[in-house]
Symmetry: C2
Subunit: 549 residues, 2 copies
């Protein structure tokens, strides 16, 4: 009979335990969890604070009793594994309630300790009693009780990642005025800047004060004031630190398990660490980026759960290789859904990849049916292989669907052109006869077949400054409502008649509102012998990116 | 300069015209449309009658003027092409307003005439003035005006396909009592019976009287009464005939273009008909079924639009083969979304395919976050190749997303097992860490790896009648609320202790509510040496299918 010890009982650990039992009735399975709860709704915590989730017990997806009975597990909560001895094949556990330490032998270990919030050693932090991080249920209870009791009026959220944005939204839901401080020039690092701009605008519309390119220097007055790197002083009643997380790899390191220089536990494709019979999964490990084929650290619940099942399979005799993590993620930000998969343009630029970009702004469903809202969709592909490299989408409806379709297309090795051929379900309440994802494929084929060249929003100003011809092909009224400096307005409808006015020896840059009419203008121009280049994503992408730069 | 004639200006025809112009400024493009409108919102028509779409002009997606200007087209509405002479390369057109006929030469023709509603020659139909079919805007105007003016209280919809169901819903929205008559034993032929049962229940909840396995025999009293095949007489103030559509292939046939025995125009993968320089696309053609690789007839807006672009490409020098139609479709039926892709079980049975079935009933998103609703998802795969053959889903939320992901997976040649590996976007408002599509992959791997055998709902009764042991592993209270006749209740929690009571020489059939606990029970039983078989989809699938049989 095999004796398997699992360290950490949340996403991956709990899944592994259940899977092990389903495969084998005889194994002895001991699940150690430092905290009080196993398998809780970690992605739901902000919504309990914001009171969208009203009952605390909803957060307890599995109870210790329930899992123990159903899967015949030996679950030991509030017990920390403090040491692993891979030579003797024993671990040392410490009961956190009694302080008693004891030794347990093992045949196999699964490490699933997760990742913990990063808390820099800010000056004055030690005196602050209103600064919180959010990882587990006790953290949640602390924050909720602080909000319920102290009724803070102002909050500062430090860090504009997933948790930071979700916390900002949920504090606003509680009637609190929120300032969001972010070191980078944008929130949500997986997005590129012009896509993040849409989120910035939405945060602004919801009254959140956004302080970009700034960070915390020190806490003052017991946390009532924060001094920022810029010298600015902001006041608040509560602070959420959501700067990021770091893999919990101390236990592994001390057991001489190979660990990445940035902290994650190193594993092979079967989740085996450098020490025999010790496996690791979840947010604590370094994984392979599915697209870049490089080591990286992507803490996400979906992959952690999948790894939990796979590691159990591998321990009990299968050989299932993990092919890497794509990094598909989504966040609700007030009415917006913000989703990404794969690599973004920043990363591709840093890798000197030969990529191409497509921005479109289609409607979530047929516009003649009520309720359609725009989606801003950006897709990146490899110029040479035509492989899809990544995608980003922001909008009120149908964002998750399009991102999931693209993530599936990536997994199925479909080229950017094959997106046009996808046969997706269509009826007016759900989509358009040409779904946004199909549209990406069509735009790609226009570029690839040389029907249209494009430039990006960040290339426009320099061209105009250097005297390039930029034609705004929107209608007069649209142009009057705001236009790119230096652009000349010749609407698409007038274009054929005004061709004689254009210098055919120089390239003609065109743009419209979202890109479609610009493409049509390019076709007319190219068919008449001009070199025509469309501004990808049109005025909408350009203007938003500039406004929220 | 090329002269291209397009016959039919709605989905495929209008797309082809625009695409031709984008590719070529010089071609002469004449678009003939028998009706008054081009490129209208054909999928939106029922919703204008139901007043969800409030403005009639919303149905006019493109106007003749708009398209003429933008794409320099020669659009001739209310003009029917009545004859094609492929030898002389001329057509004869008839202006339906003036009756004047004239001849037009061509280099290339694109036939995009669509499909027309089937109207059997029922006795008494000629005297009825309240019987309508729905294909275009004049039809829509007629129905809406009849409803607005005559304020019918009772309606009969004949035919329970997409249009029938959408019309039934929209008539109910107008306060009309609806009876739906359907010849088959279920609505929505692309669904299998137990999935259609969910729709039957929903129609019933919305007060629609459903008469299955019955059809119209004759109309009486000027359409105020219908005599059904069963002998039943039903009364109504308005009748919608939505029995189905047939390809409009008369013109093609008369031009000696090869046509299928059931009426569709035959084309090769480049949409070339049997006559040189004549192409055909859209609802009028016979297409290749993407999965079955057989000729079939699937009238859908998405494929028609795609074909419109492809045929234009092919005419102007590309060689893009059409790989077939998957048949991805969706309908809103009151609060339900009903979606399908690929082949269903009925078709697979008729083809004697070796397929396997999976039914699951997951939540649309994490249940701890408000608003989650169940999705019933059925997926079929090839037992030998593990290719996905088709899927069906019914539920209130997130149905379109899952079907689109599966349709994409099929297009990417992913096996049923690879659905488990899809990395889809997850946050509690959108999904679960294990998305329903992932769950299908997990269930499949349980079956394929022999962790679990399953039987289908329709196999249960015979087994029980023959004395098989069927254990209901739900809790006592669930069992008491309704159970399969002959099932014995041993809850999953009790199962391990009660194993000694079970005869290990005979197979043990188990079931729970939706299939998950049944699977866990199977694992316990199999790990203890029993042959255990789970009822796929659980009591939920069985009970619904039986109740609405």
């Amino acid at each position: 009979m095999k004796k398997i010890i699992i360290v950490g009982g949340v996403a991956g650990g709990a899944t592994a335990a259940a899977r092990l039992r389903r495969l084998n009735e005889d194994a002895e399975i001991i699940l150690f969890e430092r905290g009080e709860h196993i398998s809780f709704a970690n992605c739901g915590l902000p919504y309990y604070i914001g009171e969208t989730i009203k009952q605390r017990e909803k957060l307890l997806v599995q109870t210790v009793e329930g899992m123990t009975n159903r899967f015949q597990l030996d679950i030991r909560t509030q017990t920390e594994v403090v040491k692993i001895n891979p030579i003797e094949k024993v671990i040392e556990a410490k009961n956190l309630k009694t302080g008693v330490k004891y030794v347990e032998s093992y045949d196999t270990i699964i490490l699933s300790p997760g990742a913990s919030p990063i808390i820099p050693s800010f000056n004055g932090l030690e005196k602050a009693n209103n600064v919180f991080t959010l990882r587990n249920i006790p953290d949640t209870d602390r924050i909720k009780s602080f909000v319920d009791t102290n009724k803070p009026q102002k909050a500062t959220v430090v860090g504009g990642g997933f948790i930071g944005l979700e916390m900002a939204e949920n504090l606003v839901e509680r009637g609190i005025e929120v300032t969001l401080v972010e070191m980078a020039d944008q929130v949500m690092a997986p997005l590129d800047k012009e896509m993040a701009a849409i989120v910035h605008e939405h945060l602004f519309e919801h009254g959140i004060q956004l302080l970009l390119k700034d960070g915390v220097k020190a806490f003052h007055e017991n946390g009532q004031k924060i001094e920022l790197n810029s010298g600015k002083i902001i006041g608040q009643d509560i602070v959420i630190l959501s700067i990021g997380v770091k893999p919990e790899s101390k236990l592994a390191k001390e057991a001489n398990i190979a660990v990445h220089e940035r902290g994650g536990i190193l594993v092979n494709e079967y989740f085996e660490t450098s020490q025999k019979d010790i496996y690791a999964i979840g947010d604590a490990i370094v994984i392979n980026d599915y697209i870049a084929k490089e080591e990286t650290f992507i803490p996400l619940a979906g992959p952690a759960n999948r790894q939990g099942r796979m590691v159990a399979n591998n321990i009990l005799g299968k050989k299932e290789p993990y092919l890497g993590t794509l990094g598909s993620g989504i966040a609700k930000v007030f009415e917006l859904s913000v989703a990404t998969t794969g690599l973004n343009e920043k990363v591709l630029q840093s890798k000197n990849k030969e990529y191409e970009v497509i921005h479109i702004h289609p409607a979530s469903h047929a516009t003649y049916y009520p309720g359609a809202t725009p989606i801003s969709l950006k897709v990146l592909y490899d110029k040479n292989t035509l492989n899809i490299l990544g995608a980003q989408a922001v909008g009120k409806n149908g964002v998750d669907k399009r991102m999931d379709v693209i993530a599936t297309a990536i997994r199925g090795n479909l080229s950017i052109l094959e997106l046009a051929e996808l046969e997706l379900t269509y009826a007016p309440p759900f989509s358009s006869a040409k779904d946004p994802v199909n549209m990406v494929g069509y735009v790609a084929s226009n570029i690839i077949d040389d029907e249209m060249e494009t430039i990006q929003w960040y290339e426009v100003d320099e061209l105009v400054n250097n005297g390039a011809t930029l034609i705004d092909v929107r209608e007069k009224e649209e142009f009057a409502n705001g236009a790119i400096e230096g652009a000349v307005n010749i609407s698409l409808t007038e274009l054929r008649n005004k061709l004689p006015e254009l210098d055919s020896t120089r390239p003609v840059y065109v743009h419209c509102q979202v890109g479609l009419r610009g493409y049509l203008a390019c076709r007319i121009l190219k068919n008449h012998g001009y070199q025509a280049i469309n501004v990808d994503g049109g005025y909408k992408t350009y203007e938003l990116a500039k406004r929220w730069k």
